[in-house]
Symmetry: C2
Subunit: 452 residues, 2 copies
Amino acid sequence: MKKILGAGILFLSLTSFAQTKEDSIQFSKISTEILNKGKSYYELRDLTKNIGHRLSGSEAYEKSVKWAEQKLQEAGADKVWLQEVMIPVWERGKESLYIKSNTGKWTKLKMLSLGNSEGTRGKDVSGEIIMVKSFAEYEKLNPDQVKDKIVFFNYPFSQSYVQTFRGYSDASAYRSTAASLTAQKGGKFAIVRSLSSAFDDVPHTGAMRYKDDVTKIPAVAIGNTTADKLENLLKSQKITAKLNSNCGMKGEKLSHSVIGEITGKKDQSVIVVGGHLDSWDVGEGAHDDGTGIVQSIEVLRTFKNLGIKNNHTIRVVCFANEENGVKGGIQYGKTAKETREKHLFALESDAGGFSPRGIALEMDDAKINQIKTWIPLFLPYGAYDFDGRYSGTDIYPLHDMGVPTAELAPDSQRYFDIHHTEEDTFEKVNRRELLLGATVMTQMIYMIDQNW
Amino acid sequence: MKKILGAGILFLSLTSFAQTKEDSIQFSKISTEILNKGKSYYELRDLTKNIGHRLSGSEAYEKSVKWAEQKLQEAGADKVWLQEVMIPVWERGKESLYIKSNTGKWTKLKMLSLGNSEGTRGKDVSGEIIMVKSFAEYEKLNPDQVKDKIVFFNYPFSQSYVQTFRGYSDASAYRSTAASLTAQKGGKFAIVRSLSSAFDDVPHTGAMRYKDDVTKIPAVAIGNTTADKLENLLKSQKITAKLNSNCGMKGEKLSHSVIGEITGKKDQSVIVVGGHLDSWDVGEGAHDDGTGIVQSIEVLRTFKNLGIKNNHTIRVVCFANEENGVKGGIQYGKTAKETREKHLFALESDAGGFSPRGIALEMDDAKINQIKTWIPLFLPYGAYDFDGRYSGTDIYPLHDMGVPTAELAPDSQRYFDIHHTEEDTFEKVNRRELLLGATVMTQMIYMIDQNW
């Protein structure tokens, strides 16, 4: 028995060695192909410069649907189709925020209404600003102190976390709940310090939501240096703010996610790789999430160009409406449940097109441990961190159905400098960083396809 | 014996566990201090915007010497001094390169003379261009074919390497030897395709050198898109090039490296951390190597601000003349040998102020293996790669004396897009990436100081 076992182990480790060598060669082919012939950077330029930002419900979003359909066809998909999704329509319109100090002079502030926020319907709404630095401080205020006031939530983005996503998570409740909290105590509108890792004057938009049974008052974001200046002014005097905005929800609309796939040679179990096609209505939606879209298309193209025989169906999903509703992801999950299509794995890229550092994994321990045995293959490509336990927003519905999910984990230092701002432009994306991310994604999809 | 050994191991591992915990706390303190209160980003802005590029021998370099002296004092150095260095003086002056095709019309090309190259002394030098794609192709040419010609070395920067430094090393011999090779066969001057990972029209300068006994003919670099256009033109017609330049070596000059230290509490063995203060005469010398300078000063300041009792002397060296002579590094090594000052370790940062990925180590295996046991401490800060076996140019003289040396290994994807160009500006540096590099450097210096 001992002898047989010994032979068995020897056999296994020889197979494993040969397999590792073959995988290593395939990893290198993928990297060489993408770093030299990848088209995702040029596709991103096209998407960001010729279409630009593309909020759900906008004409630009509909253009991007046609664009993605075409790019998937060009990449060599066997089949491309649109998936119907009912999406919420939010529009910004004109907006302005002024403050007035002791001098009596109105000063205009750079600002952005938060996504999904209602506005002032084109009327001036003004009141005295009161500032709080935290929820704890706000809780201590009586409704009397808040009534008819403008509440300025000035909670700073923590610089202490090495992973900036932790700083973002830490502060994000201020963006999402400021309006509801202010409304509950009778305030007129809320001003939020931007969720930004930069020290500049760029306001960051992003989704907020109203709690049930609150008056839907406006919420706006200001940049960090404006927030600091306002904090300083408030130390010595009363400040009045005046908001005039036209944003608001404009019902629902039929739209689409875009899907393309190469059919499995062994079976039609599905491996999903994707990002979201929509963006906020500022900047160009480059890192969020144009990069995820073009990288996902690069994965499919690379399988085709290298002639890799995929066992399972590899499906690129360009999700609709991640930013203000996740309706694309929800619809995809619902459809997958209805059709009982077997999903093996889903990988999203929605953390920016920066140099990859690893892949976050959300699945059972046995699968995580198996993937971790592949780390030596990934290390030469800069991917070492497989310890994240989260995955992309759009694929949570799949995760909730029991599908193992994952997200590309790129370097996070620059993302929240530009996230949801006018600064999220093509120029902020580095070609090689983007291509290297696509390389690691393709390598992971290859390993899953070969081994699951 | 067995029992005693057992107890010994238990004792050791408990000590080690407690030590690791203490180190981990210290790592966190260093990170929190630098990410929140680090001044290196603002110092870099000052250096790059108020002094700018600072080639050896220039007035700007002398300003940067005074600047570094002051910053080291402000950072809390116990002692700051200048080390005399004789440096070569190279000046660019006016320069222009034109080409003429069949149409007979002269077209101006963007170009930069290579550093240390002689020019045309203000006279037009012209001739027919012949292109080679590699040294192998050039070797096949007879002197007759090269005589009085302009040789265009059009060897591309390889995109295939994940570490861009490998692509740079692969192509760098073209920059350094093109002029000598051309002169050996009687050519008039050499044009080199830039050592650039970008696909743009930005020429990259950088050091060339003349072989002994060759005529010192000029060498210039052109950007990649210009190189591609020229290659295309040459397919169908003869192209004449005309160079007019004034660059050249202008003798030697007394200059200085800048040194500051905090004295060791236990002994005065020296731990060096540094970068080079000089830069090429284009752009702002931001990533090359302003970042290394301000990060090294950050290390010293952080030891002071956190009140860390350093066992050994921690010495920041801002080396003179790395770019076109390495005279600062050579002088430092020479002085260290003369004074017989014991050097424990030297760390350089000269690969850009990007997110750290590890530290390259050049020392004996026992020391490398010891440092590798510290990797779990570094991982939360994104440093995982301790497999590089090289170190900074300025500390090679120390290495050659037997001192263990190392270099910060940041993400390399963007560096050679901007290296030695007009584009190497402050705006290309991200605050958090720079600070995280300084964090990992400080952590490494801390570990060496505590354990060696």
